[in-house]
C-alpha cells in the first residue's frame, strides 16, 4: 500500500440560507444568529430557503443558467466559489487534471406541468394516451438535463472547465461521506493530486419534500434546534451548496496555495438500524478519532437530521464523548447529500479561526465550548441509512 500523503483543504465554496462565502457564514455562526427559516412555501413544513444570490457572478451565461434547475445552479455557483477560493478558477492547466466527485440527487420536477397534467388526467376517459400526449407537448426538452444526477458535475465542467474526471455519487447522506472519502483516498494514495468535491441541495421543491413526507419525516412546527429537549420529531430541509478543493500537501505547496485546514481520517459504515446501532458505531468512530485529537481543543459538528430515532441515538454517543457539540441542521436545515460537505467546510473554517461558534440557547448538549479550537469532528448519520465521520485539523 502506498504511503498516505497529507491532504489539505485549499478552497471552500459555500452557499446557504445564511448567505454566500466563508465570512458571512462564520460571522452569523459566531454571533449565534437564529437560522433563516420559512413555513409559507409548503405549509406547515419548515425549511431553510436559499439566501438571495446573483447567479451571474459564477454562471455568467444566461444560456447556461436556463439549462439548469435550482439545485444545479446552487452547486455550480458554490463550485465556482471553491475554485476561486483555491486560486485555480480559470487556470486551465490545473483544471484539466482536477478530479471531481459530486454528491447529488436529481430529478427536479416542474410542479406547474405536473399538477396541470394530473388535473386533466382525472377528467379523461383515456388517461394513458393523454399522459403520452401531454408529456410530449408540455415537458421542456432541456428539463431532462436539469434532472439528471450527473448533470451538476456536467455543468461544472462546462461552466468552470473542471475536466480531469467527473463522478457523481448518489444515495442521500452517505453519498456526501463517500464523495469525500473516495477523493481523500485517491489523493492520499497518489491516484490524484487535486480534486473538487461537493454537493448541492435545493429544499424549495415539492417533490423531495413529498419523498420524505411519504415516511412522515418532515418537521412541521416552529423552529426548535436539533438536540433541544422535547423537540418534535422530523427534519427541516435546507437549501445549500458546499464545495471543497482537496489537494495533496506537496501539490498545494508547489503552487504556493495556503491550506485552510487539513482533512484527516474519514470513517464510514452502513449499519443495520437496530436500536442502539447508531450509538455504537459513533462511539467506535469517536474512540478511534479521539486517539488523534486533543480533547481540550476539539469539538464535534453534528450532522444529525432531527429525525428520530437516529437523532436521539446520536445525542447519546455525543454526550458520552464529552466534547463540545454544535448541530449543523439547527443552523442550515437538513441538506441530505450536502450535509457532510457543509460540515467539513464549516469545520475547516472554524479550526482556521481557532474558534468554536456560539451554542444554540436551551440546548444542553451545546453548552460546552473550547477556548482554542484546533480539531473538529464532523458526524453524518443518514436519516435512514449510512453513517460517516470525518476529522478536520488546523495546519500549523
Amino acid at each position: 500500500m502506498v504511503q498516505a500523503r497529507e491532504i489539505w483543504i485549499t478552497g471552500i465554496g459555500l452557499l446557504s440560507s445564511l448567505g454566500e462565502g466563508p465570512d458571512i457564514h462564520m460571522k452569523r455562526l459566531n454571533d449565534g444568529d437564529l437560522p433563516v427559516t420559512d413555513r409559507t412555501l409548503f405549509p406547515p413544513y419548515l425549511l431553510h430557503p436559499l439566501a438571495k444570490v446573483d447567479f451571474d457572478k459564477q454562471i455568467p451565461k444566461k444560456g447556461d443558467q436556463r439549462q439548469m434547475e435550482p439545485w444545479q445552479r446552487i452547486g455550480t455557483y458554490a463550485a465556482g466559489l471553491a475554485l476561486a477560493d483555491a486560486g485555480i478558477a480559470g487556470n486551465t492547466e490545473i483544471l484539466q487534471k482536477t478530479d471531481m466527485i459530486v454528491a447529488a440527487a436529481g430529478g427536479e420536477r416542474d410542479s406547474a406541468v405536473d399538477t396541470a397534467i394530473l388535473t386533466d388526467l382525472r377528467r379523461s376517459n383515456a388517461p394513458d394516451a393523454l399522459l403520452n400526449a401531454r408529456l410530449q407537448s408540455d415537458l421542456r426538452p432541456t428539463l431532462f438535463l436539469a434532472q439528471l444526477s450527473n448533470l451538476l458535475a456536467g455543468n461544472i465542467s462546462i461552466v468552470h472547465g473542471v475536466v480531469g474526471s467527473s463522478r457523481t455519487f448518489m444515495g442521500e447522506e452517505g453519498a456526501g461521506v463517500s464523495a469525500v472519502q473516495v477523493a481523500h483516498a485517491r489523493i492520499a494514495s497518489g491516484q490524484s493530486e487535486i480534486a473538487l468535491v461537493g454537493s448541492a441541495y435545493n429544499a424549495e421543491r415539492h417533490d423531495t419534500l413529498l419523498i420524505h413526507l411519504f415516511d412522515q419525516l418532515c418537521y412541521k412546527d416552529e423552529f426548535v434546534p436539533v438536540f433541544a429537549p422535547g423537540r418534535p420529531d422530523g427534519f427541516a430541509l435546507g437549501s445549500m451548496g458546499a464545495f471543497l478543493v482537496l489537494e495533496s500537501a506537496p501539490h498545494a505547496s508547489a503552487r504556493g496555495a495556503p491550506p485552510i485546514a487539513r482533512l484527516g481520517e474519514i470513517y464510514s459504515a452502513n449499519m443495520r438500524r437496530k436500536p442502539g446501532a447508531i450509538t455504537a458505531v459513533l462511539a467506535k468512530f469517536l474512540a478511534e478519532a479521539r486517539q488523534k485529537i486533543d480533547p481540550a481543543a476539539a469539538a464535534i459538528l453534528s450532522g444529525a437530521t432531527g429525525a428520530e430515532p437516529a437523532t436521539a441515538e446520536e445525542a447519546e454517543a455525543l454526550a458520552e464523548a464529552g466534547l463540545p457539540v454544535r448541530a449543523l441542521a439547527s443552523r442550515f436545515g437538513h441538506g441530505v447529500e450536502a450535509v457532510f460537505l457543509i460540515g467539513i467546510a464549516i469545520a475547516a473554517l472554524a479550526v482556521r479561526e481557532g474558534r468554536l461558534f456560539a451554542p444554540m440557547p436551551k440546548v444542553p448538549l451545546e453548552q460546552k465550548t473550547v477556548t482554542s479550537l484546533r480539531q473538529a469532528i464532523v458526524t453524518c448519520i443518514g436519516h435512514w441509512r449510512g453513517e460517516g465521520l470525518g476529522v478536520v485539523e488546523a495546519v500549523q
Binding site: P43, G171, H206, G386
Partner: protein, 428 residues
C-alpha cells in the same frame, strides 16, 4: 512486472475478474446471452409495459420476463442487479453466503416519483378542483407510505444489494450517465489498487424504461423512431442510423486482486488492466467537435494499462446508433489508432441489446471478457447501409472468430462523461 506476478508494471496489485453475471433483454445469465449475442439475435421489441399511443418511439429492450405485475423502476433495477450479482458471486465462489468480502460499487439510474404514484395521490385530491402542490402535500401527509419513501431514495437499490450479499461498508451508488457501469468498475479497480480491499462487487443496473423517461429521450431526438420491425431499429455505424433504442438490464462483476484470487484457487476469467476517463466541457449532450475528451479517455486508459494502441485487438464500441455518437467515436478511434483504425474490429453490442444506459458499461465489459474467452467477436447487426464517413470494420452482421488478447470498451455519456476500460486475457 514484479517477480511474484501479483503487481503490474506500475507496482499496483493486478486486478482479476472472477465472477460475472448479466441480465439483458436477450435473457438472464452469461451463457444464454453469449449464445444469442454471437448468433446476432436482437432483444428489441414493441413496448408492452405501458401504453405507447401517440409516441414517436414505441420499441425498447425492456426486460419483461421477471415480473407479471406492474412495478416501480427501482424494483426492476434491484431485481436485475440481484440476479446479476447472484450469478457473479456464485461463479466467483467467493466469501460465504451473505458475506461478500469487499465493498459494493453500484451504478443505478436516477429515481424520482413516478406517474403511477402521482396519479394515486391525485386521485385522493378534491375531484372538483384543479390539483395543487398543496393538495399533494396534504394527501401525502395523511398516509404513511414508507415503501414509496424507500423506492424513491437513491440509496435504495445499492442498499438492498449490499444487505442481501453482505458487501462490506457503505455501498456507493453512482451515476455517470451512460458511462455509469464502467465507472463502477473503475471505482472497484482503484480501491483494489489502493490496497483498501481484496475484492469488490461492481454492478451497473437499469430498469428505467417508463413513459416519461422514454419521452424525455425522445424530446432530445436521441431515440430511433424506426418502430417496425423493432429488431432492425438499432443500427450503429450505419448510414441510416437514427438514434439509440432504450433497454434494460444489469451487469455484475467480481473484481479481485490476482494474489487473493490465486490464493483461494479461483478461476480467473480475465483482467481489468486499465481505465481512463476525461470529462468534456463542450456541451451537455454533444461531444467536443475535435473529439479531444474521447481521444483523451482512450489514451489515458492505454497509458494506465501500460500498453499502446497496437496492443489492442478489438474495440467494444459505445456504438449507440445516434448520428452524433458514432461519428464522434469514429473520430476518436481514428485519432488513437491511426492507420489501424480501418482494420481493427470494432462492434456494438447495442445493435442487439439496445442501450442499457446505466448498465451498459458493466454489461459490455462482461461481453468484452467473453470475447477474449471465446476468441469470437460479436457482430454489429442491422449493418445494411454502410456509412462512407465511418470506414471501420464493424464486424457486420455475423460474429467472427479472431485472436483477441486485449479489448478496450468505450462508454460515453451525457454531461461529458467519457470512460474507457482495458480488458485482457493476461495480466500484462
Amino acid at each position: 512486472m514484479a517477480s511474484n506476478g501479483h503487481l503490474d508494471a506500475a507496482g499496483r496489485p493486478v486486478v482479476a475478474v472472477t465472477g460475472m453475471g448479466v441480465v439483458t433483454p436477450l435473457g438472464q445469465g452469461t451463457d444464454d446471452n453469449w449464445k444469442k449475442l454471437t448468433a446476432g439475435q436482437s432483444g428489441i421489441h414493441a413496448i408492452k409495459r405501458f401504453a405507447t399511443d401517440g409516441l414517436r418511439t414505441r420499441i425498447a429492450g425492456t426486460v419483461d420476463y421477471l415480473f407479471d405485475r406492474t412495478v416501480l423502476s427501482s424494483e426492476l433495477s434491484h431485481a436485475f442487479a440481484q440476479r446479476a450479482a447472484a450469478e457473479a458471486i456464485a461463479q466467483a465462489g467467493i466469501g460465504s453466503k451473505g458475506e461478500f468480502p469487499g465493498p459494493l460499487f453500484c451504478a443505478v439510474p436516477p429515481v424520482e416519483i413516478q406517474w403511477q404514484v402521482w396519479r394515486t395521490l391525485a386521485d385522493k385530491c378534491d375531484p372538483d378542483k384543479p390539483v395543487t402542490v398543496g393538495d399533494l402535500i396534504r394527501v401525502t401527509a395523511g398516509e404513511k407510505r414508507n415503501d414509496w419513501h424507500r423506492h424513491f431514495l437513491f440509496a435504495e437499490v445499492a442498499q438492498l444489494i449490499a444487505e442481501e450479499f453482505g458487501a462490506r461498508g457503505l455501498p456507493i451508488s453512482l451515476s455517470t450517465a451512460c458511462a455509469s457501469g464502467a465507472s463502477a468498475i473503475q471505482l472497484g479497480l482503484e480501491a483494489i489498487r489502493r490496497g483498501e480491499c481484496e475484492a469488490a462487487l461492481c454492478i451497473g443496473t437499469d430498469g428505467s424504461v417508463q413513459t416519461e423517461t422514454l419521452i424525455r429521450f425522445s424530446l432530445l431526438s436521441a431515440l430511433s423512431t424506426q418502430n417496425d420491425p423493432p429488431q432492425a431499429a438499432s443500427k450503429p455505424f450505419s448510414k441510416n442510423r437514427d438514434g439509440f433504442v432504450m433497454a434494460e438490464g444489469a451487469g455484475a462483476l467480481v473484481l479481485e486482486s490476482l494474489e487473493h484470487a490465486e490464493a483461494r484457487g479461483a478461476r480467473i476469467l480475465g483482467f481489468i488492466t486499465g481505465c481512463g476517463e476525461m470529462a468534456d466541457s463542450f456541451h451537455r449532450t454533444r461531444s467536443s467537435p475535435d473529439g479531444k475528451p474521447i481521444i483523451g479517455c482512450m489514451k489515458n486508459a492505454l497509458a494506465d494499462a501500460g500498453i499502446s494502441a497496437n496492443d489492442v485487438d478489438y474495440i467494444n464500441a459505445h456504438g449507440t446508433g445516434t448520428p452524433e455518437n458514432d461519428k464522434m467515436e469514429h473520430v476518436g478511434v481514428t485519432a488513437v489508432f491511426g492507420e489501424r483504425a480501418k482494420e481493427i474490429p470494432i462492434s456494438s453490442n447495442k445493435s442487439m441489446i439496445g442501450h442499457t444506459l446505466t448498465a451498459a458499461g458493466a454489461i459490455e465489459a462482461i461481453f468484452s471478457l467473453l470475447t477474449i474467452t471465446h476468441q469470437r467477436i460479436p457482430p454489429t447487426i442491422n449493418y445494411k447501409v454502410p456509412d462512407p464517413a465511418i470506414p471501420l470494420d464493424v464486424v457486420p452482421n455475423v460474429a467472427r472468430d479472431a485472436k483477441v488478447r486485449r479489448v478496450i470498451s468505450n462508454s460515453f455519456g451525457f454531461g461529458g462523461q467519457n470512460v474507457c476500460l482495458v480488458l485482457a486475457g493476461e495480466p500484462a
